[in-house]
């Protein structure tokens, strides 16, 4: 039986016997309940197996991969519509008046924002607008000049290093540049956080790393070194590394920048797919406007060191704020001066 998942707000929900993906597929009528039950019995259940229900069904030819993808996408679509109607999630991360000056520039000039728990939040804004800096504040890599960052109820400000490290164990982060360790091959890069932070046996680690690499379609690349990878592969390895520890909160800094449209799309799917399986809180910085609006619940627009607007993605995409309109449509003329 899958273990109950504990939510950050303390409540526990008993997961259904079919697993999250199984539930979605059954509800959509793509596959019947008995089939999923049989499948799970065959593979012995457990959290990992229930999460893999979709792949297994495709492998066995019960459903087509295309159907799996469209069903999941449809399910996510319903999610964000429901979120638009009732955006009532408790925040898991909160900025209160964060100010940060770098090189005499007020990069963050009083940012107040909330990241809803167990939702996908996208942060968008012009290049150089301080998105990465915002993300680095969330995990304590940068310290604010003024204001406070809260993770749950915990203020990061006066936390001693050891406590901060405990909080960081609930996070993982994908850096804009990937930040893979050059001295290790792909497999070891992904295995690294498991080896360092968990007491899992080497056998279990290998299994999990393989699964995660397979999910980003790099199953055969384990032996390569980072400098032998293309930019897109590097991003995907970094994504696998960020997800392998099953953290509560995942911060993704431009997971799709510089990738071809197909891989961009597949990474968006992967993010939603991961979300539907596990309901991690995710924060995604993205320039993939407007595509990103279909792959997140909540959007925060950063502009000139402040939060210009924040809310359900379907509200933001229809916002009539001229800055946001210009940004979404990529127009040269408007309140944002380009040249």
């Amino acid at each position: 039986m899958p273990e109950p998942t504990e939510h950050p707000n303390g409540s526990t929900t008993q997961p259904s016997a079919l697993g999250p993906i199984g539930d979605i597929l059954v509800a959509a009528g793509v596959v019947d309940k008995e089939r999923v039950h049989d499948l799970l019995k065959e593979h012995g259940g457990g959290r990992v197996e229930t999460e893999l229900v979709g792949e297994r069904l495709v492998e066995q030819g019960v459903i087509e991969r295309k159907d799996l993808l469209t069903t999941l996408h449809e399910a996510f679509r319903k999610e964000i519509e429901a979120y638009q109607d009732a955006p009532d999630s408790t925040p898991i991360l909160r900025f209160a008046g964060i100010k940060k000056t770098l090189d005499n520039r007020n990069v963050l000039d009083g940012v107040d924002l909330e990241i809803p728990a167990n939702k996908i939040t996208a942060i968008i804004g012009v290049s150089g607008g301080g998105k990465t800096v915002t993300l680095k504040h969330m995990i304590g890599l940068m310290k604010p000049d003024a204001g406070e960052v809260y993770v749950g109820d915990q203020a990061l400000g006066e936390l001693p290093n050891r406590k901060l490290n405990d909080i960081r164990k609930r996070f993982s982060m994908l850096f804009q540049g990937g930040a893979l360790f050059d001295s290790m091959n792909v497999f070891d890069n992904v295995a690294f956080p498991l080896r360092e932070k968990t007491k899992l046996s080497e056998e279990k680690i290998r299994k999990r790393v393989k699964q995660n690499l397979a999910r980003v379609n790099l199953g055969a690349m384990g032996g390569k070194f980072p400098d032998e990878l293309s930019g897109g592969m590097m991003k995907r390895v970094a994504l696998a590394r960020a997800m392998v520890t099953r953290p509560e909160i995942i911060l993704l800094d431009e997971p799709t920048a510089g990738l071809d449209p197909i891989i961009e799309h597949s990474i968006h799917h992967l993010i939603c797919d991961t979300f539907l399986r596990s309901r991690y809180t995710m924060v995604v910085i993205s320039h993939a406007v407007p595509a990103i609006f279909n792959f997140c619940h909540h959007v925060v627009v950063l502009h000139q060191g402040k939060v210009l607007e924040a809310g359900p993605s379907l509200d933001i995409v229809n916002s009539d704020n001229p800055v946001i309109r210009q940004f979404i449509n990529g127009e040269l003329h408007g309140p944002i001066k380009v040249i």
Binding site: K136, I139, L141, N161, N165, D166, R168, K169, F171, S172, M173, F175, G177, A179, L180, F181, D182, F192, P193, E196, K197
Partner: protein, 235 residues
């Protein structure tokens, strides 16, 4: 910079220990420097033998050539030149390695994983520096004295009994421990300066090359300054 050293030293004593990392680093520093150390040592010994012989023979005391060569090498030239070679061969790559880790955000990545980069990256490198330098220094001493022997005995015809006997009679434990203390402290100095300069690198590839230059120059200068200091208190 002192705060950096302080934090690192605290982490020397704290678990988790990673002996594999340490061995890797010792290997790295040792292998990188070994060949150049041997080369430098042979020629240093030979030139000391040559110079010493002509100087000493003016006063008719060629017999003291052995101890003259040995003492200069063990007390001064061994530790200092070993320090220089290690700085050039291993220290510079230590700085550039740390610098690249920094600018490519790999140090930040470690931090986000809840791993202390000082503990994980700097401590093993510093420990390796402190342990490896005395070892390389010992090799330098032996090879250097042998270099002196080549010139004095094989070339200039001094008897080998005079050469080695003189060394045995005149080099004391104190001399050796002076050399050892110097090489220990140079090891600390080099690995401290070189990892620190890399650790605080800023501004891309140019920043890394600046960091390397300043680490090497500072190490050279500090080795000489510290050498004078230790010599003057341990004479």
């Amino acid at each position: 910079m002192f705060l950096f050293l302080f934090q690192v030293v605290i982490h020397f004593a704290l678990p988790p220990f990673r002996p594999r990392n340490l061995l890797q680093q010792i290997h790295f520093i040792g292998i990188r420097s070994l060949f150049v150390i041997i080369l430098t040592a042979v020629f240093t010994g030979m030139v000391l033998g040559l110079q010493g012989y002509y100087t000493l023979s003016r006063f008719g005391s060629e017999g003291l050539l052995g101890p003259a060569v040995a003492l200069s090498i063990i007390r001064e030239l061994g530790p200092v030149l070993t320090g220089f070679v290690v700085t050039g061969r291993a220290g510079s790559s230590l700085t550039s390695e740390m610098g690249v880790l920094r600018i490519k955000e790999q140090i930040d990545a470690l931090e986000t994983m809840g791993i202390n980069p000082l503990k994980y990256l700097v401590v093993p490198r510093m420990e390796a520096g402190i342990l490896t330098l005395p070892l390389l220094n010992a090799i330098f001493d032996v090879v250097g004295i042998f270099g002196g022997y080549l010139v004095a005995v094989q070339l200039l015809g001094l008897s080998s009994g005079t050469y080695f006997g003189g060394i045995e009679a005149n080099v004391s434990m104190h001399d050796i421990s002076v050399g050892l203390i110097k090489s220990f402290s140079f090891g600390l100095l080099i690995s401290w300066i070189c990892t620190y300069k890399g650790y605080v690198t800023k501004r891309g590839a140019e920043g890394v090359s600046k960091a390397v230059t300043s680490a090497v120059v500072l190490s050279f200068v500090m080795i000489l300054v510290w050498d004078y200091f230790i010599t003057s208190i341990m004479l």
